[in-house]
């Protein structure tokens, strides 16, 4: 772990963050540390507490338990001061659709009390390639352009921390790539970024990732560290004859000891398990079948996450009994 900006106090440092909504624990004793200038990918299934965590970090929600700092400021006491230095991009587009691009940016600049509003707005429009569309109503923009506008508006006041809640949901691949280029540019300028996403390719673009499910932090570190830490062993079975059915093979394997992961990919089946010895013992019997060729491979990040999610669900349900 030796990325630029590693030195210095963490920008986000929270411990034991807990939030309950009507008796349901949405975020459960979550601890997180993000160093300055890093891009932290925040991953987890829907409803795992990503949005709630982000909202607690920027002062939109008050944690029920836990403590910590954001930009060196206490998340409970200094919510107002944190808000001034944080840029937050909401999951749903939350600027004014009945206002033009320029009017939206001007409003934001004025609320943050920036001096030389025109200059700030023009620079932001230029930087994000929105200059031609300045007079267009935000509601008429396509998803990709709306996302650009939202990013431009959320960094207008030069925040030190950027919180992005699924910024690329529903955006085409080209726009996503451009967007990530901008995120890296911002991080290079020293802004710390926490970005939640469902896309694995995006997770791999982060310096560091954190994976949460059912409100609990399950894994944290670089992509390589998280993959290695999961201790998952995977094989790919490729069909050798046209009649060999991957679905049939999956049905045979499902529920057998050591098999934690089964995912068909076209004419191939991805098989994995947390216990290497048990997995190989089970597979030994099946590998005799010449209809499939077997190859051990590296688990993907997606394999790891699905595996982690399955395991934590078992724990979660086990705890409930």
């Amino acid at each position: 772990m030796s990325a630029p900006g590693e030195s210095g106090a963490p920008v986000i440092a929270v411990r034991g963050l807990t939030k309950r909504f009507g008796g349901r624990t949405v975020v459960d004793r979550l601890s997180l540390a993000v160093a300055p200038g890093r891009i932290m990918g925040f991953l987890g299934p829907n409803g795992s507490g990503k949005t709630t965590t982000i909202r607690m970090l920027c002062g939109l929600l008050t944690p029920d338990e836990g403590e910590g700092t954001c930009l060196g400021l206490d998340i409970r006491r200094d919510a107002a001061a944190i808000k001034r230095q944080v840029g937050y991009m909401t999951q749903k587009f939350s600027y004014y659709e009945d206002m033009s691009v320029e009017e939206n940016l001007t409003f934001v600049a004025r609320v943050y009390g920036l001096s030389g509003i025109r200059g700030h707005v023009d620079a932001a429009l230029e930087r994000l390639g929105l200059a031609d569309r300045r007079r267009q109503l935000a509601g008429e923009l396509s998803g990709g352009w709306k996302q650009r506008l939202a990013l431009a508006a959320s960094v207008l006041h030069a925040p030190r921390l950027l919180l992005l809640d699924e910024p690329t949901a529903g955006v085409d691949p080209k726009a996503r790539r451009d967007f990530w280029e901008q995120i890296h540019q911002l991080a290079d300028d020293g802004i710390t970024v926490l970005v939640s996403t469902h896309y694995m390719d995006e997770a791999e673009r982060c310096h560091q990732i954190a994976y949460i499910a059912y409100g609990q932090l399950l894994a944290e570190g670089t992509v390589a560290e998280v993959v290695a830490g999961a201790g998952l062993v995977t094989y790919t079975a490729s069909a050798q004859t046209p009649r060999a059915s991957v679905v049939e093979l999956a049905r045979r394997l499902r529920g057998l000891p050591g098999i934690d992961l089964l995912a068909p990919f076209g004419a191939a089946l991805h098989v994995g398990g947390g216990d290497a010895a048990l997995l190989e013992q089970t597979l030994a019997a099946v590998r005799a079948d010449a209809a499939f060729s077997w190859r051990r491979d590296q688990p993907s990040l997606e394999d790891v996450f699905i595996h982690l999610m399955g395991r934590s669900r078992d724990n979660f349900q086990g705890a409930g009994l």
């Binding site: 939109l60 008050t62 919510a79 107002a80 937050y88 909401t90 749903k92 939350s94 943050y112």
Partner: protein
């Protein structure tokens, strides 16, 4: 393949509507609540033939007939003789401020003149700004006065019973001599229009931010609740002022409502009234979860406002509980100010109490609004 109408499909649709109706509790409560509110207001609060109207008597006669008349007024259900006044000026003042509905003047020597058969005049002055409030009482007055005196017409005076009434009843409808109801309705309408539009506009403004998802963004920005509230309200103050100007122009030049008092007073108190209504609307928008609920709350507020403020029905005809509700509604006070200034020529000191009430309501509502407005999404 499929028929134009299928019972199964229609039942599916009906089923879905029932499920959604059950989920939307506030709307359901409103559907039950509004008829109940109307029943209570129309059934118990409203009385178009008000009784127990505050009356003062100026008795310069001190004779038997004067005393008999006062006793008869008191015995009737229409007049409550609340005080005896010493001078015409005092009575004028009380009428102008709306403390009195009627003023009965018994001239000096009234008893003796009746006895002599001189047919003296008995003067009754009524605050006729709202013609409906006085008509019932005035209709009974002639008969009531004759009956009051009749028992005293004994001996040689018994002759007077046979002829025309032994005195002349002079009714003087103050402030609205021809009993033109527009004079009363049009200035009041200004308050009603402002109540509906101003409350609705601001009630929707905050819930709109919530419905469109822009509230979350607004909350992470360094804006205080007071800044948001004042920012949201101010544009509508101008819109409200435009409405005031239009209605005032129409009432003066189309309906020819007299303007006895100072126009400036109406204009200034309108500002206060507009802001008070906007604050009420803002409070509703902090209570409602979405725009539909905000509209329902507005309706729930609008109904008692027009019914209990004295706009449609005489304020004095209502029972005490309804009058108390009326007192906490800004429209009641604004109605008194506008009618007072335009029709009675009220000056600053006459309306100070009502203006003070408006300011108090504004203060209380603003405090609630700012406190209710949450900085977080908790």
């Amino acid at each position: 393949m499929s028929a134009a109408f299928s019972l199964r499909r229609m039942l599916a649709m009906i089923g879905k509507e029932f499920v959604q109706m059950r989920r939307d509790r506030p709307t359901f409560a409103m559907m039950v609540g509004i008829p109940l509110l109307q029943l209570v207001l129309f059934g118990f609060a409203i009385n178009s033939d008000p009784r127990h109207l505050p009356t003062a008597v100026l008795d310069a006669d001190h004779g038997p007939f004067g005393r008999a008349l006062v006793a008869a007024l008191e015995a009737s259900t229409y007049f409550d003789v609340e005080r005896m006044v010493a001078s015409e000026a005092e009575a004028d003042h009380l009428l102008a401020r709306g403390k009195l509905q009627f003023m009965v003047s018994i001239p000096p020597d009234f008893s003796r003149q009746v006895a002599r058969g001189d047919h003296p005049a008995l003067l009754v002055e009524a605050d006729a700004t709202d013609p409906a409030a006085t008509s019932g009482a005035l209709n009974t007055l002639q008969e009531l006065a004759e009956d009051a005196i009749a028992p005293d017409l004994t001996g040689p005076l018994a002759l007077l019973k046979a002829g025309p009434p032994p005195f002349e009843l002079r009714i003087h409808r103050r402030y609205n001599e021809e009993a033109v109801s527009q004079y009363n309705v049009v200035p009041g309408l200004m308050g009603v229009v402002l109540t509906m539009t101003m409350v609705m506009m601001t009630a929707l403004s905050v819930t709109r931010e919530r419905d469109r998802g822009t509230m979350e963004n607004l909350l992470v920005m360094p804006l205080s609740p007071l800044e948001i509230m004042v920012g949201k309200i101010t544009p509508y103050v101008l819109v409200g002022y435009l409405q005031v100007a239009v209605i005032l122009a129409a009432s003066l030049w189309v309906f020819h409502v007299p303007l006895v008092g100072n126009l400036l007073l109406v204009m200034l108190s309108s500002v206060l009234y507009i802001i008070a209504n906007l604050a009420v609307g803002f409070t509703f928008s902090t209570l409602a979860r979405n725009q539909t609920q905000a509209l329902q709350l507005t309706l729930f507020y609008f109904l008692p406002s027009i019914l209990l403020s004295g706009f449609m029905f005489p304020y004095r005809g209502m029972p005490v509980w309804a009058q108390t509700i009326g007192e906490i509604l800004p429209l009641t006070h604004f109605m008194r100010i506008v009618r007072g200034v335009m029709l009675k020529g009220n000056g600053w000191t006459d309306i100070a109490g009502e203006v003070g009430m408006l300011a108090l309501i504004l203060l209380v509502v603003s405090v609630i609004a700012v406190r209710r407005f949450r900085r977080t999404l908790d």
